[in-house]
Amino acid sequence: MSLVAVKRDLCDLCGTCVGVCPVDCMELTETELRIDAETCILCRFCIDICPIEALEMKDE
């Protein structure tokens, strides 16, 4: 199974990915970007929009 993973050392917590997520499965707190894998549809929009390549598709 695939899922979108956050590279925590790179992520700048800017929220650009959250703004394009079509299923609102991302949550950005002060310190963390979380993705709800249950809701995520693996559309890759977040990976594609990220300004700094801080998101990636991972096989579990």
């Binding site: 929220g15 650009t16 079509p22 002060e30 990220c50 700094i52």
Partner: protein, 394 residues
């Protein structure tokens, strides 16, 4: 068990739009709570910090210590490196220090009577028995709080989840999301009397790169691309190229990422008990991505209308639409034209951009205006020339 707090207006997000909305609501006599997710208002700064003087003055009198630099010119650089200098003259541009600016806007809201909570994360809406928006659920320094409010103002930026929870369509299309990276750097060799804008498919496809000098060799250097292009190559890689090519001696002090919704205002800005302002409402200028002044203008209208509606005991969508009408008249209508112009500008090929620069270089300096530049650039898209004329009227 969560705690309960009750206010007239709760504002989610203490950027310029949210703080201005909070201040105006408080000044108009209702109780206000302003929530900021981060530990400190104003930080981090995800912004190029440029704003037009005349637009800012529509909301408040600028304080000198907010302003790091004042510019009178804009320099445009075509893909082949042709320079076009546009003197903007009477409408000067400011480069703000947003750390201080945002902080003081929140303080002004507090001075007007608003409460401010930092490290306060809104994660859901409260609803009344009929399903109408009735507040927000907040995590605030280790406690859960139900903040009930007559009006919720979503000023939660590019993420814009508050609006989505209420059923408003705040999702930004990939095409309209400008995905950006910026450095604040020392030893940037640039004239301080101007903003620089670089265009081209190799520089920033579907967007542009900027240099906003702050004085003493300090500058914001950044760029944004349309989300149509960021899958194959990232903004950070384009920015590295720009720095290597134009500012090899720069010393980077800060790097920030960020996104700007450049779609023009969201179709529906209000619903019963809820209003959206700022980036959350897609209120940045679709061509420039500049969102400070428009967000504050929206905040000014929304804060006042929310207070009036509460005093009258009617916070229905119909009543709150007064904000939408005023926003539309003051800015929203123009942004719809700017959106069409953006679509025309970002469709231009490198050749067309170079030809535009060449044509403008043939003019006397005082003949080169922004309006003229857009007209020349969009010569082959005559339908847009009318939009350009409308945007630059008066």
């Amino acid at each position: 068990m969560s705690e309960r707090v009750s206010v007239d207006v709760v504002v989610v997000g203490a950027g310029p739009a949210g703080s201005t909305a909070a201040r105006l609501a408080a000044e108009n006599g209702v109780s206000v709570l302003l929530l900021e997710k981060d530990r400190e208002v104003g930080i981090p700064v995800r912004c190029a910090e440029g704003v037009g003087e005349s637009s800012l003055r529509k909301v408040l009198e600028p304080r000198p210590h907010w302003i790091m630099n004042t510019v009178q010119n804009a320099e445009f650089i075509s893909p082949s490196g042709l320079h076009v200098l546009v003197h903007v003259g009477s409408d000067r541009g400011f480069v703000l220090n947003r750390k201080i600016f945002d902080y003081e806007l929140a303080q002004m809201a507090a001075d007007a009577g608003a409460e401010v909570w930092t490290k306060a994360y809104a994660y859901d809406l409260l609803r009344d028995s009929e399903g109408r928006v009735a507040g927000v659920r907040v995590r605030h320094i280790g406690r859960e709080v139900e903040v009930s409010a007559k009006v919720v103002i979503g000023a939660d930026g590019v993420e814009s989840r508050v609006g989505r929870w209420a059923g408003l369509k705040t999702l930004t299309k990939m095409h309209d999301m400008e995905t950006c990276v910026q450095v604040t750097a020392a030893r940037v060799e640039a004239e301080t009397d101007r903003f620089y804008f670089f265009f081209g498919s190799q520089v920033a496809p579907g967007g542009y790169a900027w240099v906003f000098p702050k004085g003493n060799g300090l500058a914001n250097v950044g760029l944004g691309l349309s989300g149509d292009f960021s899958a194959t190559r990232k903004p950070i890689d384009y920015l590295q190229d720009l720095l290597d090519k134009h500012f090899p001696g720069a010393a980077i002090l800060t790097t920030v990422a960020g996104g700007v919704p450049c779609s023009g205002t969201v179709e529906k800005l209000v619903t019963d008990g809820l209003m959206l302002v700022g980036d959350a409402a897609h209120q940045a200028n679709p061509v420039s991505g500049g969102g400070i002044a428009p967000g504050m203008i929206a905040g000014k209208i929304a804060g006042r209308v929310a207070a009036e509606a509460i005093r009258e005991g009617d916070v229905s969508e119909k009543r709150l639409r007064k904000y939408v009408r005023e926003w539309d008249r003051e800015v929203g209508k123009t942004h719809r034209l700017f959106y069409r112009i953006k679509e025309g500008i970002f469709r231009l090929t490198d050749d067309e951009l170079n030809r535009t620069a060449k044509a403008l270089q043939g003019l006397a300096p005082d003949e080169i205006t922004l309006k003229r530049m857009f007209r020349v650039a969009l010569m082959k898209q005559p339908k847009l020339l009318l939009d350009v004329a409308r945007v630059f009227v008066g």
